[in-house]
């Protein structure tokens, strides 16, 4: 009996978690080369390509491009326009995690997280 109650509670929680995580505003997390066919709010993890131009507080925003960090599709470029607070370590050559709205051609970024460049980086050969 106790096992049935415990399993029922666990099953209810699992269903609730599944529903919440899928229907509760979850965001696709993609590489720049995977953006084709997507629209709307998503997050992109990529490598910042220069030149980084513009002003994040001006109407034109801060403009740069992203490519895959690694893998065979590094030639794919995605233009990004960002409005907001530029993070500390942001510049060309950094690995970043960008959240924004993709319209099929460019990404209107609402937040940029620059990955910490010294912690736990892979050992250099």
């Amino acid at each position: 009996m106790r096992l049935v109650i415990a399993l029922s509670v666990a099953a209810a929680l699992a269903v609730f978690l599944l529903y919440t995580s899928f229907a509760g505003g979850a965001t696709p997390s993609l590489k720049p080369s995977q953006l084709a066919g997507h629209r709307g709010k998503l997050s992109v993890s990529g490598y910042v390509l220069g030149p980084v131009a513009g002003d994040p507080h001006a109407s034109g925003g801060l403009r740069f491009k992203l490519r895959d960090i690694d893998g065979p599709h590094q030639s794919v470029r995605v233009p990004v326009v960002f409005h907001g607070s530029e993070p500390d370590l942001f510049r060309a050559g950094r690995h970043v995690y960008v959240v924004g709205n993709y319209n099929g051609a460019s990404l209107a970024a609402t937040s940029i997280t620059t990955k910490c460049p010294s912690k736990y980086s892979p050992a250099k050969s």
Binding site: T27, L30, H95, Y97, Y120, P122
Partner: protein, 664 residues
């Protein structure tokens, strides 16, 4: 010197491997000399790892850039003491710190308990040795901090964000917490392997578990304080996978520290406790895997790292070992007593455990969701702060309420009438607080209002418990109210230290609710002489200031601040530009109103060539209660950890035969 470091690590690897294999054989064959030599090998491994750590620290001290690791994480201009804290600024050094703490804490736990758990200890040492062998293996063959190179003219420097006093203590505390959870795991596994799953391993590890749990808790709070002051986005916890990696084992350990009391008192929840201890350990390794694998997007993880696969394998082995062990010993773990009533202290502990474990699993689900969705749907999907915030309310608010009810309920059973009488005054206090807050306009956030009301209830229950106990001791003949109060705490440090920790959680809840539900934010573009206002504060931009420091330049916006027309000070918010690292860091300005525990938080977001500046200004009500909660949490933990000869004798008498246990 690199050769000495490498040799010391290789020796440490050999020693811990011997502790694992030789110790296991000794325990199985009951060969005392083998068991003792395995224990001594563990002690010697600590010494050998310490030598490796000293070699690396010395390389940092003399800036020996022929050590590739030193060149990657320091520079000539890196000031003291950051040149030493750069030790754990990267993967290899942090793994070395992990092994050092593991062998050190493991040796101490074994040495202090060698007389208490004579049957369990022979099996504990091999488990500790096996865990240490994994980390030593990583350091010797996969991620050595003693890689050599032709020394460059200067090093790459340390990430400016890590050049912060909080970062000097935050990582070692987290490691102490993670590694400390290995101790109860090793003793529990030892107890299961030896077939002696009585109270002894709990007595032996209780203080070690509290120490690890305290270190992890304070480490998480210091990390939050660092994020608040250094990262400079105005928050302190972003539900980042790396932050969650520390939170999950802490939640599991919190559940264990509560449920273990039920096992001690009522001899129940043995399977549950064994599962929680193993789960907390696996979660601590899982967190490390997340941080270092690069599989999940986080501010800390960085690209795919080969070390992740090793950690995944180790988690698989640890989880399988734990599961098999518990299933094998299930007959031994069956409870001898049953829950008598759903309205009892043990039932309250059980509800608390269910909520804590449910929240832990929810966080785990959120962290692992990108991996799972990628495997199932072929597309990684992340869940953000709204997901976690929602479940924090779902599980956190009932937990807050239970924290008030639990201490007031009697063991075995409580009648509804008795329960009603005991919760009357805390209930009245909570109701009064709720009504006052609604009258003051705090009803705009239902979750915030509930958090405050439940906090008032929990705080009322804590005060009531202290008041009752003090009054009883005064009636028994204490010379003064103070001696009655201090005697009360001294005679039962664990219980009243626990209540102080509960008070810390209440402060934390009030601080989190206040700063997140009732804050204000404004972004303005100001030219010299311009002003902006927010929540009664007026900031006047007086122009920018440039200062030169040893390894960086400091650019600041000078801001005169008034509150309701009264001058309250000048703030300098801006950025540092580090030369060697070629990086910029945000340096926020914070004006604290201690009376209201409120911060005026200013970010110098962008400096324009025409002398103007973009400012982001936040008002964070009650945020300082979060940091105060850390101090109160530490105080409660110290009270609980403080050696208590009377309790030790009592516990020892319950675990006879055997001498008085020695705990740190």
């Amino acid at each position: 010197m690199q050769d000495l470091g490498r040799a010391a690590l290789a020796l440490a690897f050999g020693l811990v491997l011997y502790a694992a294999i030789g110790g296991g054989l000794g325990a199985y064959l009951r060969r005392r000399r083998l068991v003792v030599s395995a224990r001594n090998a563990l002690f010697a491994a600590f010494g050998s790892t310490a030598v490796a750590a000293i070699v690396l620290l010395n390389a940092f001290r003399i800036r020996d850039f022929s050590f590739a690791y030193v060149a990657e994480h320091s520079s000539k201009a890196l000031p003291f003491p950051y040149v030493y804290t750069a030790f754990w600024g990267g993967q290899e050094g942090s793994l070395l710190l992990w092994l050092l703490v593991l062998t050190g804490v493991g040796s101490a736990a074994v040495a202090f308990n060698r007389r208490l758990t004579t049957e369990v200890l022979p099996w504990t040492v091999p488990v500790l040795g096996a865990v240490a062998s994994f980390f030593a293996l990583m350091l010797v063959f996969v991620a050595s901090p003693f890689g050599t190179q032709v020394a460059p003219a200067d090093g790459a420097g340390l990430n400016p964000s890590l050049q912060n006093p909080y970062m000097m203590i935050h990582p070692p505390l987290l490691y102490l917490g993670y590694v400390g959870l290995t101790i109860p795991f090793a003793f529990a596994a030892g107890a299961l392997l030896s077939g002696r799953f009585d109270e002894r391993w709990i007595v032996a590890t209780r203080r070690w578990t509290i120490l690890a749990w305290t270190a992890l808790g304070i480490g998480i709070l210091l990390g939050a304080k660092w994020a608040y002051e250094e990262v400079g986005w105005g928050g302190y916890y972003a539900w980042d996978p790396v932050e969650n990696a520390a939170l999950m084992p802490w939640l599991a350990a919190t559940a264990y520290l509560h449920s273990v009391m039920v096992q001690e008192k009522k001899d129940m929840l043995r399977v549950w406790n064994a599962t929680l201890v193993c789960g907390a350990f696996c979660l601590s390794i899982f967190g490390t895997f997340l941080t270092r694998s690069g599989l999940i997007n986080s501010i800390h993880s960085f690209a795919q790292s080969p070390i992740g696969a090793w950690f995944l394998g180790f988690i698989g082995v640890a989880a399988t070992f734990s599961t098999v062990l518990i299933l094998w010993r299930l007959p031994l773990l069956r409870a001898r007593t049953k829950l008598e009533s759903l309205a009892s202290r043990e039932a309250a502990f059980l509800y608390n455990n269910l909520l804590l474990v449910a929240f832990t699993l929810t966080v785990l689900w959120g962290v692992a969701f990108p991996l799972l969705s990628d495997a199932v749907r072929g597309e990684a999907v992340t869940v953000g702060p709204p997901y976690y915030d929602f479940f924090l309310k779902v599980f956190g608010l009932p937990l807050l309420l239970l924290m008030g009810i639990g201490p007031l309920v009697a063991w075995r059973r409580t009648s509804l009438r008795a329960l009603g009488e005991t919760v009357l005054w805390p209930g009245v206090a909570a109701l009064a607080v709720g009504v006052i807050l609604i009258a003051l306009g705090a009803g705009s956030s239902t979750a915030g209002l509930l958090a405050y009301t439940f906090s008032a209830f929990a705080l009322g229950a804590i005060v009531l418990e202290f008041a009752r106990g003090t009054r009883a001791r005064k009636a028994l003949g204490a010379s003064s109210w103070w001696s009655a109060f201090s005697g009360l705490v001294a005679r039962n440090r664990r219980r009243y230290g626990g209540y102080v920790v509960h008070a810390a959680v209440v402060l934390l809840a009030i601080g989190v609710a206040g700063s997140s539900a009732y804050g204000a934010t404004k972004i303005r573009h100001l030219r010299p002489g311009d002003t902006m206002g927010i929540r009664g504060y007026t900031l006047t931009y007086k122009g920018s200031v440039l200062r030169h420091a040893a390894n960086h330049d400091e650019l600041r916006a000078r801001l005169a601040v008034t509150e309701n027309g009264n001058q309250i000070g000048t703030l300098f918010a801006g950025k540092n530009r580090y030369f060697a690292e070629q990086q910029v860091s945000n340096e926020v300005a914070i004006k604290t109103d201690w009376l209201r525990a409120q911060d005026l938080f200013v970010i110098g977001d962008e400096f324009k060539k025409d002398g103007s500046v973009y400012l982001k200004v936040l008002v964070k009500p009650l945020v300082n209660l979060i940091w105060l909660a850390g101090l109160v949490f530490l105080l409660g933990s110290v009270i609980t950890l403080w050696p208590d000869a009377r309790e030790q004798r009592r516990l020892a008498s319950r675990t006879e035969p055997g001498p008085v246990p020695i705990t740190p």
